[in-house]
Symmetry: C2
Subunit: 393 residues, 2 copies
Amino acid sequence: MIDFDYWSPTYIAFGKGKESRTGELVRQFGGSRALLHYGGGSAIRSGLLDRVKASLSAAGIHFVELGGVKPNPRSSLVEEGVRLALAEKVDFLLAVGGGSVIDSSKAIAIGAANGGEWRKYYVGREVKVRPVIPAALPVGVVLTIAAAGSEGSTNSVINLEPENLKRGAGGNILRPKFAVMNPELTMSLPPFQTACGLADMFAHLCERYFSPTADVALTDNLCEAVMRTIVLEGAKVMANPNDYQARANVMWAGTLAHNDICGAGRVQDWASHGIEHELSALYDCAHGAGLAVVMPAWMAFVYKADSARFARFAQNVFNVGHGLFDDEAALEGIAAFRRWLKSLGLPLTFAELGAKEEDIPLLLKTLNLGANTLGAFRPLTEADVASIYHLCL
Amino acid sequence: MIDFDYWSPTYIAFGKGKESRTGELVRQFGGSRALLHYGGGSAIRSGLLDRVKASLSAAGIHFVELGGVKPNPRSSLVEEGVRLALAEKVDFLLAVGGGSVIDSSKAIAIGAANGGEWRKYYVGREVKVRPVIPAALPVGVVLTIAAAGSEGSTNSVINLEPENLKRGAGGNILRPKFAVMNPELTMSLPPFQTACGLADMFAHLCERYFSPTADVALTDNLCEAVMRTIVLEGAKVMANPNDYQARANVMWAGTLAHNDICGAGRVQDWASHGIEHELSALYDCAHGAGLAVVMPAWMAFVYKADSARFARFAQNVFNVGHGLFDDEAALEGIAAFRRWLKSLGLPLTFAELGAKEEDIPLLLKTLNLGANTLGAFRPLTEADVASIYHLCL
């Protein structure tokens, strides 16, 4: 267990109808003029947006609106949001949606607090020391998708146009002040998006679990606990989208998978996310779908670096591989992981994702690894990443 | 999974030598004049207090001192602390010690922010709606004992003199702003105190795990993950008090056992704590030692209310009772729990604790249950509690 700082101050209001508390929570965390940021039509059609607005009005919160956030959120809309936030002198960003809306809100929160400047804080993995974000408006969330964990995380990823580069900003200053989490709001999500969310949250745990750091028994046990929950409750959600309890467990799991409670005390990897981001940047595919393709390929490529850990994963998460040698158990675990992803209806190959072998050089170029390596469980060279992309075929 | 609010904003600075950051953290969380509160001689003898003072001075924090906190912290010292805090106009309470020091600091923090009034916020379980604490000074912690979890919790328990009643106050306002957690500081703790700490944190999980609330798969899995860690890493700590990694896992487990991450979404019990508090109030025994006596007796009395849950506990925490009927597995689990407590050198009976059968009427009188019931897994009448005390003989 290595030294760590841990701070997860997001106030969670979890349960049925909790969106009615949104206005009160904005007020409690210092907001009086909010920018209400959201995505497409589902929040409007479901009546959620109206309920949120009613709650804001009841609490005396003035607000302006900006909808239209797309998956893999675009920098152009962030720019528009920053202009609006500055013009309207908003003091709070309220995200109603999933990870893309939250990440877009975080970017606007940075721009609005720094005279319009936000883009320079979004950098690639080649930048070893992230620029420190000096200020950001407070962000609150009404969550509608269990997936990205951005409602409790320090991170934001934006698709920077016109280059189409996915780049990230990070820092405790980006932790949302509150998250309203009503599992009912996730029930109308289509099966494919639900599945993508499960893959995304599971990946957030893998990135922390497959670590070169030893002696983190507690964090290991926590990771496995959340992973098991995602596998078992996720199956229930796919079988019955209106299973409130399963939706609730999955929704809370998505937050705990990424607020770093499952990362305390160890070096983290994040290679799969890096490899995937190039796919969703180029093909505009769902991040979770891209991860379903990349993660098993990454596992197959790296497991021999510590097959005992993969054997433990097989046994404690998928309940397979007991009594086998580590290498064999590891392969059983990876196979079980693939079966689980397939059972969710997720793609496992480039072809299923709509990605092309001939684009691999381009993917490597935008990843821009150069002479650096990616990840920590087994540091990957550019040639290694090329091999992993080929394993995705 | 029932609706819940969750907020755990304590900043954790975890690792070797982290006490050197104390002054910077006090400053970061708004303190400029601190009351430095601590217990007996060990923090002085070890040089910890000097290091903390040096850190405060380096950060330009003015401070006054009040030592002498005893286990089962006394109201008389709280009164003295409140007078001192008001006279010195302190704006921050810095606790250097374990749960007793932190709880005493929280009480002083209430008194200092409410014109001296703190005692009325400390009530017994017969008060169904706790009085809301209107204000409290911020509290920071340099933790030296892995046990009570008060470094991240909403609670404070004080022994109210002259009646000798243990009574509690609670509210999010009592969550410490930060906790410095250096596992090295716990290495010098005597084996008995280390064991008491393990029993205390394990009990905090049991009070949450043995619940009438169904469908909290994630919280159940988290609870079991932390309990397993305490059992296995606790054994390492007892065998080798200087095992840094085991100390680190145990220390972090103590926080997670009581910051309510393992209680989210369910009704909690807390009967064993209620039953035990009367013992430590009357006999001034260690809280963890009292819990070691009470918890197994409570389990033996209540398990039939949901023997499937106790069977799961047996299998998932102590790895016993597989393939048995629930009732049998439950008893195997309770027996394994007793064996674990005994292996730690903890008492299991009234006699070992120094408690007396003839005092049971007095214990029941101060518990003051009347016609109410205690706990939720199986609500206990006064007669039930009497039976549990007799099972402790």
